[in-house]
């Protein structure tokens, strides 16, 4: 039997405190398009980085064309003909297409080291012609569309004579027509003898292109199937799989009056037709794939980037929100997705971080009353059960879970009715997770209206009263109690529907 072009055996990768991959295997046959699928956080990105030599595995073996290899750096992988094309194109927008293609391996005259532009342009033109591109290699990279940039990335991979090409969610930012073009190019690559690992969240990509599919979940290898052997439903089960064993301390809160309602909220290019209502004591989940527009909706609602269509009602009153101060004055608080960049001043003590968003509360006689401030910081830090020796500890020295508790404490200093929590358990270990669930549940019980944005299926199902599923900037389903199942969520998050079907999904709820 012909050897695999790429084979990984028993790969384990441990980062400090996190086991990103454990005992993973993968086999890529020559001339095959192999789909790799899994939820966010399943370990796909780490896996690619090991294949391309960015990370070296903690344990395990890797074979290229039957030869055992050990990559010290990305150049080793490149030399063996492995190239990756990433979801967010990494390019030099102010340089020409030719320069982008040959970056790092320019053609130079022997001796004088002069760059041979004529030859490079000619070769670039040939690569682009092969791929059916209609732009000149002298065009500036920044003036191309995302789809065209992706073609340049593919040309770049070909210019290094890549035999193994990894495509990481290449269709995520493409329109249907552009995706179709990409499928065609990918097939042409395969016909020329390349083997392709195709990572995507879209089932349609997989069915259209791949002959084989491998599924990862939670850093583990789940299985490989021929694409025509496995149906949609089994694949979803494989990706989600686990029974929910985590403890969700969700208590039934009494639902009160409506605190927030939006009507046809939209921001051009990001999201449209977002309508929902939220009651006191309710936890409303928002899920969907990364890039579905969840964060954008709620950053607009919090006034970070203004929405340009639709209406917002807070406690029945029509309001307009243009900046975070207004949002907070109306009682809307936002726990940002990236707590290190958006939520905390890392070089500051715990106490100062906690009081930052409500400093005006601690003013007496025109100046800041630090005693009062620290008293409140201690009270909230204890209430959130932050584990640190004192409130004077720097936030940067805390673990992820404790940092998140500080952000929660910070949220509670302000006088709020509505809490928007964006990925509240991201990058937090399991123990701290259930502590955070408990906090969220308690807050809902106290009468806050809570919106929880998350990509993690179990916490959506375990915590939320209702779940809105978003896809490509729109709500594709509003699942009520009893309808919140993994299958329903994945269905709504991944499958494209025509607008009328999407509407039917909303109406059904």
């Amino acid at each position: 039997m012909e050897p695999y072009v790429l084979e990984l055996k028993a790969i384990t990768k441990i980062f400090p405190g996190v086991k990103a991959l454990s005992d993973v295997m993968f086999q890529l046959a020559p001339g095959e398009i192999h789909a790799l699928m899994g939820e966010n956080g399943a370990g796909k990105s780490t896996f690619i980085k090991i294949i391309t030599g960015v990370h070296s595995p903690t344990e395990g073996e890797m074979y290229v064309n039957g030869q055992k290899v050990q990559f010290q750096n990305p150049n080793d992988a490149k030399r063996l003909g492995i190239a990756a094309i990433y979801q967010h194109v990494t390019c030099y927008p102010d340089l020409s297409v030719t320069e982008n293609i040959f970056m790092g391996h320019e053609k130079v005259q022997k001796g004088t080291r002069r760059i041979r532009w004529g030859e490079m342009h000619k070769e670039a033109q040939k690569l682009l012609d092969d791929l059916g591109a209609k732009f000149s290699p002298r065009t500036l990279m920044g003036s191309l569309s995302v789809a065209e940039q992706q073609i340049v990335e593919i040309a770049k991979a070909l210019s290094t004579d890549a035999k193994i090409i990894i495509m990481d969610e290449p269709t995520a930012a493409l329109t249907k027509r552009e995706s179709e073009e990409l499928y065609r190019i990918t097939e042409r690559l395969r016909d020329r003898g390349a083997s392709i690992i195709f990572i995507s969240h879209r089932f349609e990509d997989m069915y259209r292109l791949a002959s084989k599919v491998t599924v990862f979940r939670d850093g583990k290898y789940i299985g490989s199937w021929q694409v025509n052997e496995i149906d949609n439903k089994d694949l979803i089960v494989a990706m989600v799989g686990r029974e929910i064993t985590q403890l969700f301390p969700k208590t039934e809160a009494k639902l009160g009056d409506e605190v927030l309602r939006t009507d046809g909220l939209g921001r051009t290019g990001y999201f449209a037709d977002i309508s929902f209502s939220l009651r006191r004591g309710e936890i409303l989940g928002f899920t969907g794939l990364v890039g579905a527009g969840r964060t954008e909706v709620f950053q607009s609602l919090f006034g970070i980037e203004a929405y340009d269509r639709g209406n917002v009602f807070v406690k029945g009153e029509p309001v307009r929100i243009d900046n975070p101060q207004q949002a907070m004055k109306l009682g809307i608080g936002y726990l940002p997705e990236d707590r290190q960049k958006q939520g905390l001043v890392l070089d500051w003590e715990i106490s100062r971080n906690i009081t930052l968003s409500a400093l005006d509360r601690f003013v007496s006689k025109g100046s800041l009353d630090t005693a009062k401030e620290e008293e409140e910081a201690v009270r909230l830090a204890q209430k959130m059960n932050v584990k640190a020796p004192s409130i004077y500890h720097l936030v940067s020295s805390l673990s992820g879970g404790n940092q998140q508790k500080v952000v929660f404490a910070k949220l509670l200093t302000a006088d709020l009715d509505i809490l928007i929590l964006d990925e509240p358990t991201k990058g937090v270990d399991v123990g701290a997770k259930s502590a955070i669930y408990e906090i969220i549940s308690t807050l809902a019980g106290q009468g806050y209206g809570v919106i929880m944005i998350s990509s993690e299926m179990p916490e959506m199902i375990g915590m939320c009263d209702r779940v809105a599923v978003m896809r490509e900037g729109r709500i594709t389903a509003m699942l009520g109690k009893g309808e919140v199942t993994q299958e329903n969520i994945l269905q709504a998050a991944m499958e494209s529907r025509s607008p009328s079907e999407a509407l039917a999904g909303v109406a059904k709820s």
């Binding site: 975070p324 905390l344 001043v345 930052l356 003013v363 910081a377 201690v378 584990k387 004192s390 673990s399």
Partner: protein, 330 residues
Amino acid sequence: MDTRVISGSRAFSWKRFFMQWEWMLVLIFIAVNIMNMNLSEYYWSFDSLRDATMTFLDKAFIVLPMVLIIILGDIDISVASIVALSSVIMADLYNSGVPMPLAMLICLGVGLVCGFINGLLIVKFKELSSVIVTLATMIIYRGIAYILLEDQAAGKFPEWFSFLGWGYVGPVPFILIVFAVCAAVFIVLLHRTTFGRRVYAMGNNLTASRFSGIRVDRMKIIVFTLAGLMAAVTALFLTSRMGSTRPNVATGYELDVIAMVVLGGISTAGGKGRMIGAILAVFLIGFLRYGLGLVNVPAQVLLIILGLLLIVAVMLPKLKLSSLTRKPGR
């Protein structure tokens, strides 16, 4: 992991108390004075030191808001041009018949407006750094001053106007009193108010500040406007001391001011440093200049010494971080 319940008490540590850049400045300050005393017998007298302060305090008014700007992580190099423009407009107005008190008020107003324009441009054109914006306004403000006076001197101010730069209240120079009041106001503003806390927050993490509901744009405009206003205060004292003005007054002040702020331990990366450090640096550099001037050390040598001091000021915190203080481990 530490599992104790969090507490609100902090142990006092002498090490932490003395591990502050400001003590270093105090030591250098004492060293400078000892050196000066040995250099010249005329140095160490009350009259001599008192009069020395009058010669270097004018630009110290700009140091105060510059501390805020650098803590924000920004910079303003147009301040010297604002001094020139507000000074020239004041002289022009007075010479064309406007009463002096009104001309002085307008001088302050000009500074205010110039600073406000800086702030507005910086907030509106976020892709431009504050260096570039204030480089442009630096050239524009100075250019307007040249158009107004055409490289002439203007002066013949009323007799009483010289009191600002030369007058005494009892034994104390008037300028020193005004500076002390301004310094006190800025210390309170930076270290005791919500405004100051927000400035530090913005300098440390602008995005998180925005998400915390701080009106970051408005804050920036206010800080740059303050710098313009204080530049105009400098213009008042400088013009009074010189008795006349020219479009090229205060040339190079922006670099002196920034040097004092950096020597004072305010990090150009933003978010760190204290007002008292910059104030110490003002006196340190002032007395150093004065002492070396007494024994006729050439100005160029003085510049070299200042440059060396600055390098030490920038280097030392880095050395300290790597060797002496270690953050509590994870």
